[in-house]
Amino acid sequence: MRGFWPILKRELFAFFVTPLAWVLIVSFLVVQGMHFFLLVDHFAREADVTGDETPLSAFFGNTVLLYLVLFVLVPPMTMRLFAEERRSGTIETLMTAPVSNAAVVLAKYAAALITYVAMWIPTVLYLVILARTGDLDWRAAMSAYLGVLLVGAGYLAVGLCASALTRSQFLAMVWTALVLLVLFILGIGEFVTRDGTLMHEVCTHVSVWSHMNDFASGVVDSRRLVFYGTLVVLPLFIATRAVDAWRWG
């Protein structure tokens, strides 16, 4: 892991010294804040008709808002990671330092992941508000945040991979959004394919929608962990190979 720490520090610096990270975080918090407000308002008025749904499970699961936000946020977060350095040529100074390819990929990924976590941290306040006004299952909350972390980790890995495969930031963004959208739509197929068919099995396995529903209600399924583990490791592996390919191409 030669060069991991300095690159991680520089990437975080690059995220937070430019307005991009702040714009993303602010817009993310505005959307999540409105989402939370509407939910609480809804539950306050119709507490008797909501059944076993809680504000917590509704905030993280059974909602399109989570994915919508990730579709918009993840591609711009990851598009510049490699594409910008290749376009400007700084990749040359970076890769001629004594650094290993894996360290470069992992450091950039870690920086994106840390930024993503930083985006979510303020939302813990919502839970504190909920806990003050009623009962809150903290274990379910932790499971929900685990889900958020896993989904984000997988999406960011896809974005990083796209950024390593093209010189153009715009193309990296479009590719990332496209892959995430296809993944999401494939998951939605869970609800339109017939039960028992192979297609249904596949769709259920990749369905982010039901994954988040599970996590939001406190269910941590090992199949989900394997799925997101794959979604992180595979793109990162491809990205490392891509970095290696520049040298020998």
Binding site: P6, F13, L94, M95, T96, A97, S100
Partner: protein
Amino acid sequence: MGEHDGVHSSERRACADAPSFVGVRVRSTRVLDEMRRVPGHGRPLPPYDRARAPEYKDRALIAVSHLIKRYGAAMAVDDVSFEVGRGEVVGFLGPNGAGKSTTLRILAGFLGPTSGKVTIAGHDVVDEPFEARRSVGYMPEGVPLYPEMRVVEYLRFRAELKRVPRAIRRTNVEEAMRKAGVVEVATKRIGHLSKGYRQRVGLADAIVAKPPIVVLDEPTAGLDPNQIREARALVRELGRDHTVVLSTHILGEVETCATRVLLLHRGKLVAEGPTDRIRAMRKEAAVELTLRGEARAAETVLAAVEAVAQVSRLQSADGACRIRLTFAPALPIDERARATERCVAALVGADIGVREVRAAGGSLEDVFAALTASGSPSEEPEA
């Protein structure tokens, strides 16, 4: 075996000769042992110094043999072999697309060779990439930098990335900034700097880890004449502490900076030689004229023209002659064209028809031709 026995007996003798006090005797025989480990020397080895390690002490700092780099079907570098010794400043000269950048990128470790062997300070770039890269400070073409960082932040980051120990990082960065002349802009953002300063930041980055070798790709591209002069002075300065390899397509640049020139053309090393020879060739820069009329009359007219140093007759046929005229070595390049005009005007004024005017010597192509024509590169004396 006899030698072995000898060592043993002398060791015994050393033990016997040593003072009887146990601690001292043990210590003194150990010293003697160490002395004997150096073959052919009675003195112990000096402290281990990588730069003086025997494996490349007397050999070239950079050794490239039969280097080939292909991009798909295109041949970027085609069977290039050369060596660079310690303390040399070597210039790669050639037109755009000659393979200069590709060669330098391989030396710096950004690209891997398709085939061939490249050794940097004794480390093979394929087998020991990290050690090889640590021995090189590289400034790519166009000096790519992170615009959002401040100069001193950038250099600290680069020093850390290049594994400069924390204890000496600060002094290394300060020294690199002082040498490259960027102390006054240390806290400015790189994106706000002029092109000249960015170039200096790139140079500071190249030397921040104090590598034995500095590789500079087109170090003066895109600078104005003043900045070019400053950059060249800096490169010469670097040549005192480092072995420098640079590339350029400007003949004058290698003349002022390099001690040796390698000429690349279409991926092949077509010639190499010390800069002095190139400079001498340039000084002879001449014009060849084909004239109607008698050669003697033309010679008289031309000799009277200012800035003409020498007029010589090449050949005369009936009614026409070829004349070579040489300008004074001190005459700047751009003045030569004007001097040529004056010559032609003088000839026409004397009713001598000018049929052809051709520059002979001075251009890159002429140096190319001259160097390629002269024997094998290995016979060239070292600069």
